[in-house]
Every structure is written in C-alpha cells, then in structure tokens.
Amino acid sequence: MKKLLTLTLLGMFLATGTAEARGTDEVRLAIDVPYEPFVYRTPEGELAGFEIDLGNELCARADLECTWVEQSWDGIIPGLLSRKYDAILSSMAITPERENQVLFSIPYYNTPSVWITRRDRDIDISDKASLEGLSVGVQRGTIRDSYVTQMYGDTLDIRRYSSSQDVANDLVAGRLDLSFEDYPLAVDTFHFNEADSEFKQIGDSIKKPVSIFGKGAAMAFRKRDEALAEKFNAALRDVYADGTFDELMHQYFDYDLSLPVGE
C-alpha cells in the first residue's frame, strides 16, 4: 500500500514536471541599448523599439517566455558564450568571423551604411587620392570599422570610438572630417536628411561587399542550441509571410530594410 502511494506520488510529480517543461520555455535575449529606433528606453524606463516589438512577436509565435537582458556591444558575444543569456537580438550582422563563434538565425534585415560629413565640407569619397590625411570616426569592432580598415586603411586616418555619440561629438567639434555610420543610426544621430542639419550624406549608401557587410542582421545563438534557432527561424518566416514584419517596420522606419526570406 505504502509502495503504491509512493509510486502514485512519484508519478504525479513526474507528470507535473513534464507538463511544466512542455509549456512556455524561458529564453533570455541580449540587446545593446540604445540603438534607436531599434531599441530605446521610453521616458518611463521601459524598453521599446522595432527589435523589442519584433522579438516579442517572435517569442509569442514560438511559444517562448522571453526576457530582455541589456548588454554593451563589445562584450555581447562573450556574454552569450558564457551563458549570461540564450540569444542575441541586437542588429548583429552575420560575418564569417562571428559565424566561427555563434550560430545565426536566418537574417531578418539589412541596412546600408553611409558616409557623413559636415554640410560646409566638400569631400568626394570616390576620389581616393583626395582623401589622403582626412580622419574618419567609426565605432570600434563594428562592420563599418572593418570596412574602412580594409578599404581605406592606408588613406584615411581611422579613429575608433566606444560609442557613436562620441563620434558625433567629435564630428561636431571638428576633430573628424568624416564618419562612416549605419544608416538608421546616422539618421538619428546626425539628422542629415533634415534641411537645417549641420551634416550631409556624401556618396552612395554602401551595402557591398557581402564579405564585409554580410548577409544581414540575424539573431545569434550558441552553436549547440540548434533547436532554439530553428524555432526562431520558423517564427521569422512566419512574420515575413503574413506581412507582420512590414507592418512593424513601417511603424518605425520610412525606408525599407526588409530582407525577403531566402535572399
């Protein structure tokens, strides 16, 4: 009798245990705040932005319980590998170097990068010889850093900063001639599309070569978490397929950064 009771209790315990495991799983998502309009804090201190909305939507579709973890950019991959969180959803572009360390989802968007200078300056970016000795500010460790290092390492004086705000400060101050910045970040920091802005875009927006700018931004996971990545991939295909992605995108952007799945 006693044995039966024990078995029953044990059975019940196991049953509830599995029931819990079958329900929503907890996933911690890392993001580098702020990166407007992808992520920022509202005056009330809440996280908001395109990637927050997208992330929450993906989690809801994948039936996962997601929490957001703030992490500064230069430690974001080491933090993932040391299990401080389970995935990165922070506009991380897929690059071969990063692929050595992490497992990427399918890319969900890609933005061009732009050259910015002061409105009163006259710089021709396509004429390499005229760039000799000019300085450019980039955020350290970004793909823009890789691009200018690889393409202009021997012409431009490259200054590397910890944050894009520091780049903007020094461009305003006149310490820098140029900045090479991510399009959305540049819109937000330099307001270069507005008529009374101190800054302007020069040259075309840059998306190539793929060897540097990659396939686009994707979520990153630890390599062993293939099942988790597949869940998010399915959710991503889903939000693209039914137009939810475009809907979210137009809430935050007046230009197109979507990457139709499969490209």
Binding site: E97, N100, R140, G141, S146, R160, D170, R175
Partner: protein, 243 residues
C-alpha cells in the same frame, strides 16, 4: 637573421590572430604608450619640483593654490580628467577658432595634458613629503655654513629629498604606465587600444589581452630594473658598511 625570420614566419603560420598585421598594431600601440607615458612623466617631473617647493612655502597665497591643484587632481579619477579635457573643451564656444585648437584637436595632446597634470599632482605630493622629512640636523648645518635659502634648497634639501623620494616615485612611474591604458577611450591607439582592436576583430578577449598584459609586464620590469639601479647608485651611502 634570415633564420630568425623564417622561424618567426613559421611560428605565425598557423595562427589566425597574431598575424604580422596585428603585431603591427601592437607595435604602434607600444610606441604610442611609451611616448605618452614618457613625455607626461618628464613634463610632470619638471612641473612637480617647483610645485613641491611652493607647496611647502610659508606664504599662504603660494601654498594654498598648489594644495588645491594637487587635491583636485588626486581627488578625481584620471578617466574623468581625460574626458573633461578631451570632450569637455569642445563645448567651450568658439574654441575651434582659437590657437588652442591646434593642440586640442588631436587626441594625443589632450591625453598628454591630462596625464601630465595628474602625475605632476602626485609627484608634487611625493616630493613635498620628502622635502618635509629632511632632517633638522642637515638644515642646521647648512645654516651654520651661512647658506642662503636658495643655496640650501639646491645643495642640501633637494638632493637628499630626491633620494628619499626615489622608491615612491618609482611606484608613481609604474602607476602612470598602467593608468595610460585609458588613453584608448579617446581613440589613441595605445597598447590597450591595439588589444581592444584585436579583441573586437577576432572576438578573442583572452588572447588579445593576455598578449598585451605580457607587454605591460615587460615594460614594468624595465622600469623596476631602472629604479633599482638608481637606488643602488644614489642610496649607496645608506647601505650598511659590510652589506
């Protein structure tokens, strides 16, 4: 030489991070760190000697401003001082049009100014302490010889104070070397800047920083050795006779 070169190439062959290219960054970084630390220490030392004398002056209007200066620069983090001098000055209206901008435009001089003022403040206090600790007997003897204050300072007080300050100053030099690691926040490619660049590029914090730590260790060792040599030379009279 050729053999050494071949050995070196082979050593780097199966190494993704420490290519000739990244080693070049470290080498540039070493140059910048040494230049920055050396210049700030030399200028700081030159500033500190008169300041230390002034700090011990009996006149309040000389003494207090120097005390205020050392208090402010020893009482605030070097990083804050660097930020103020680099990012702060650009908010002064019209600074770009003044002659000062030639100096402040580049990252090197603001960093040099911050480091120099910081080390000068510490060195002033070190020397001030050493001057104050001059034994009364030496001063009385100098007076008995009829030395003027200036002559006494030059021939008696300062030489013995410098000797006494030597171990503490050696520490300050090493601290300064290590403090210079923050230069990379204002875009200077010093040793730490090179390490952060390599780290950001290869996502290999351990390799990048371990390597740079080894270079700092070598530099510290050289400084230690120099000061030990100086102490042996200059403090020879303090050694036991049979020692």
């Amino acid at each position: 030489m050729e053999q050494l070169n071949a050995w070196f190439t082979e050593l780097l062959a199966d190494n993704a991070i420490f290519t000739a290219n990244t080693l070049g960054y470290y080498l540039d970084g070493l140059g910048n760190t040494v230049r920055l630390v050396f210049l700030s220490l030399v200028i700081g030392l030159l500033l500190a000697v008169p300041l230390a004398i002034a700090r011990g002056s009996r006149r309040k209007w000389i003494k207090w401003p120097v005390f205020f200066y050392t208090y402010v620069f020893r009482g605030t983090p070097l990083l804050i001082q660097l930020y103020m001098i680099y990012y702060g000055v650009v908010f002064i209206e019209g600074i770009q049009d003044t002659i000062l901008w030639v100096v402040l435009k580049d990252a090197f001089f603001p960093a040099l100014i911050a480091f120099t003022l910081n080390t000068a403040a510490y060195t002033t206090e070190i020397f001030h302490g050493a001057i104050k600790a001059t034994s009364r007997g030496e001063i009385e003897a100098a007076r008995a010889y009829g030395m003027s204050r200036g002559l006494m300072m030059r021939r008696i007080i300062l030489p013995s104070a410098f000797r006494r300050a030597l171990p503490a100053y050696g520490n300050e030099v090493i601290f300064m070397l290590h403090a210079s690691a923050i230069a990379s926040v204002v875009t200077i490619m010093d040793l730490t800047g090179a390490a952060r660049f390599v780290y950001a590029r290869f996502y290999a914090p351990f390799d990048a920083f371990l390597f740079v730590a080894a270079i700092y260790l070598c530099l510290t060792f050289a400084i230690l050795y120099l000061f030990r040599y100086l102490e042996k030379k200059l403090l020879a009279h303090l050694k036991p006779i049979n020692g």
